[in-house]
């Protein structure tokens, strides 16, 4: 699914590299927990996987596709087609309704629209279905985004990540603003959806106590050759 080899990434204007990863593999359908202290480069790695930044050296291959061989435009398209993203918080556009926020997930991807078509369901219905499955009821769906609780916002963001069945979901500390109970419920629901839609999950957090919920855990500190 994901293969990283000999990767070096240096933020422009910084004297030493942020990341140097020799080898990291993630299997299809795997739920991987990547942890590391703040500032260790977790978000940077996700940016590289999403193809927003490009490494100075090495290669990232996702679904047999070497990202380095794609043009900027193709990488943006690749991300839209194959990767769903959930951020730490403030995941939603405040001027769109929850449903519209979910639909945004297939706004820039023909492939996700095609996937929905193949599954014989309209984007609108799929959005409603996902929100339903993630426990957002009808009345909440029609509310303004700013009136939702953080937990509800994260669930809407999850629905957006899943719509149109992308193969990879990357989540950058999506539970850090949630209390322990909500956090566990959220992760449980995330896994349910991942199983249902056969998605691989790469979950990033500095909170190592979540590790036991996942198939596998990786410490960025250990695989990163650059020592802070």
């Amino acid at each position: 699914m994901i293969q990283i080899s000999d990767l070096t990434f240096n933020w422009p204007g910084q004297s030493k590299p942020t990341l140097h990863i020799n080898d990291l593999q993630i299997q299809q359908g795997e739920r991987l927990f990547l942890h590391g202290p703040s500032g260790s480069g977790k978000s940077t790695l996700l940016g590289l996987l999403a193809g927003i930044q490009t490494p100075q050296q090495g290669s990232i291959t996702i679904l047999e596709q070497d990202l380095g061989k794609l043009s900027d435009a193709k990488r943006d398209k690749f991300r839209a087609d194959h990767i769903g993203t959930i951020f730490q918080n403030f995941n939603l556009l405040p001027y769109l309704s929850p449903i519209e926020n979910v639909l945004l997930g297939c706004n820039f991807s023909k492939r996700r629209v095609a996937n929905l078509k193949r599954a014989n369901i309209s984007a609108q219905n799929q959005a409603n279905l996902l929100l339903e499955q993630l426990g957002i009821d009808q009345t909440t769906r029609s509310r303004s985004v700013s009136e939702l609780s953080i937990g509800q916002q994260q669930r809407v963001a999850a629905a957006r990540a899943f719509i149109g069945q992308p193969e990879l979901i990357i989540a950058d500390e999506p539970t850090s603003a949630l209390d322990a109970d909500n956090r566990d419920i959220f992760i449980k629901q995330l896994f349910e959806q991942a199983t249902h839609y056969q998605a691989t999950i790469l979950f990033v957090s500095h909170d190592a106590s979540l590790a036991h919920l996942f198939d596998r855990q990786v410490s960025l500190k250990e695989i990163n050759e650059v020592k802070q």
């Binding site: 996700l46 927003i52 839209a80 087609d81 995941n91 945004l104 997930g105």
Partner: protein, 446 residues
């Protein structure tokens, strides 16, 4: 969802600041359009005041002054020209027609113009249109008056009514004055020119107005029997100088009488020629006419001179309205830029779902375009509202007929320039957003 829809939802979410921006753009657009429309229409209505006249002749004075006083009733002609000169020049070769004009009197603020039958036959305005009557007919004798449409409207004058036209420029009524009531025998159709605000009387009526004593003492011309009989006639008239609602339709059937009398002076006269070739020749002759210092002007040429003088004023007005538009667009720039830093998260979210930096650029640009377009639309609506409200006032005060017509090509061009400027200005925050989205990527910096 289309980017434009996104842009629209995004700006509707920031109502307070966007509304303010919309309002300033709307006001500036309204201002620009209004100034331009008034400027154009003023030029138009000035330019269409007189047409078909080849020469205007008056006592020697500035060309523009002669044009203004004889045609636009602005300012006074200091001197007149003698009747003899008129008679002489009239005989020149190639002269098709002449219209004598005697100004200087007024009636309740409206100017009184003495002339003869030629006035209704040969005077042209606009696109060589002749004067037409909405009611009645031209005057046939010195006891009759033809009034312009505005005069009739504002003073509520009706056909057949008798009025007293006093001597002098004041609008007070002269009770001690030797009354010479005139019957309204014609009301002209509106022309959108000073004709609407003019009372037209025969030259002879002007002479009578000034009274026999005055006339005799200054000119020593013995009045003939004809005018004497008129004087007697006058004594039978009522002494109220205004009789509202008096419909004496018999008054409309009158004996044709002398229209000219024995004038000594004219303010000016208009000339038409058989061929333009004569115009220049006669003009030369008039300008070198020995017995009296005269000027002959070609209205079209002098009008152009006048525009030349007004050019700088127009340019300043234009500059001011352009600056107002620019300021309103800069206001938009400030609003967009200040909101941008709070929206970096929004850009990152869009990037994460696959938006390209160029999409971000287009999104930000469309916001500026939407705000400019919406502001312009509101401005256009306000502009029409303003015209609707001030139309009557402009017509009455300045004689400028503003039409509620569709936007002209020129006005559309102005709006086009505003739209392009709005887009260009909107590109500034869009370029910043573009680089934010390139650098920030998906990591959110707030």
């Amino acid at each position: 969802m289309k980017l434009v829809t996104l842009a629209f939802k995004s700006i509707s979410n920031r109502k307070a600041s966007v509304l303010l921006t919309l309002f300033t753009i709307a006001v500036s657009v309204m201002l620009l359009l209004s100034i331009e429309r008034v400027r154009q229409e003023a030029k138009q209505s000035f330019g269409s005041t007189i047409s078909g006249t080849d020469l205007i002749v008056g006592a020697r004075t500035g060309d523009i002054q002669l044009l203004l006083s004889s045609v636009f009733r602005i300012g006074h002609a200091t001197n007149g020209l003698s009747w003899q000169s008129y008679q002489y020049i009239k005989q020149q070769k190639g002269v098709a027609w002449t219209i004598p004009i005697s100004l200087g009197d007024s009636h309740k603020g409206f100017s009184v113009l003495g002339s003869d039958g030629n006035y209704f036959q040969f005077y042209r305005y606009g696109k060589k249109q002749s004067l037409t009557f909405s009611h009645g007919r031209p005057y046939h004798n010195a006891q009759e008056v033809v009034i312009g449409s505005e005069v009739a409207k504002q003073l509520h004058y009706l056909l057949g009514q008798k009025i007293v036209v006093a001597h002098g420029m004041g609008n007070t009524s002269f009770h001690n004055h030797d009354d010479n009531p005139l019957t309204i025998v014609g009301i002209l159709e509106p022309t959108g020119t000073p004709v609407d605000k003019t009372l037209h009387v025969p030259l002879k009526a002007i002479e009578l107005m000034h009274g026999p004593t005055h006339r005799v003492s200054t000119t020593a011309i013995v009045r003939n029997n004809d005018s004497h009989s008129h004087d007697e006639h006058e004594h039978h008239e009522h002494h109220e100088h205004l009789e509202h609602g008096h419909h004496d339709h018999n008054a409309l059937e009158s004996e044709p009488g002398d229209l000219i009398g024995e004038p000594t002076q004219l303010t000016a006269f208009l000339m038409g020629f058989d061929s333009p070739l004569y115009t220049l020749q006669v003009r030369r002759n008039i300008n070198t006419y020995k017995p009296e210092a005269l000027s002959a002007i070609m209205p079209g040429v002098t009008l152009r001179e006048l525009w030349g003088m007004l050019d700088i004023v127009e340019k300043i007005l234009m500059l001011f309205s352009a600056v107002v538009v620019l300021i309103s667009l800069l206001g938009m720039l400030t609003t967009l830029l200040s909101s941008l830093s709070q929206r970096r998260r929004e850009l990152a979210i869009l990037r994460s779902v696959g938006a390209r930096p160029k999409h971000i650029f287009a999104l930000m640009c469309s916001e500026a375009v939407l705000i400019t377009a919406l502001g312009s639309l509101i401005g256009i609506a306000m502009f029409y509202l303003l015209i609707l409200v001030s139309k009557g006032m402009l017509q009455a005060q300045f004689g400028i007929a503003i039409s509620l017509s569709l936007l002209s090509d020129y006005e559309l061009m102005l709006l086009g320039v505003i739209m392009v400027s709005g887009t260009v200005i909107g590109a500034i925050p869009a370029i910043r957003a573009y680089f934010y989205s390139l650098n920030d990527g998906m990591s959110i910096k707030v």
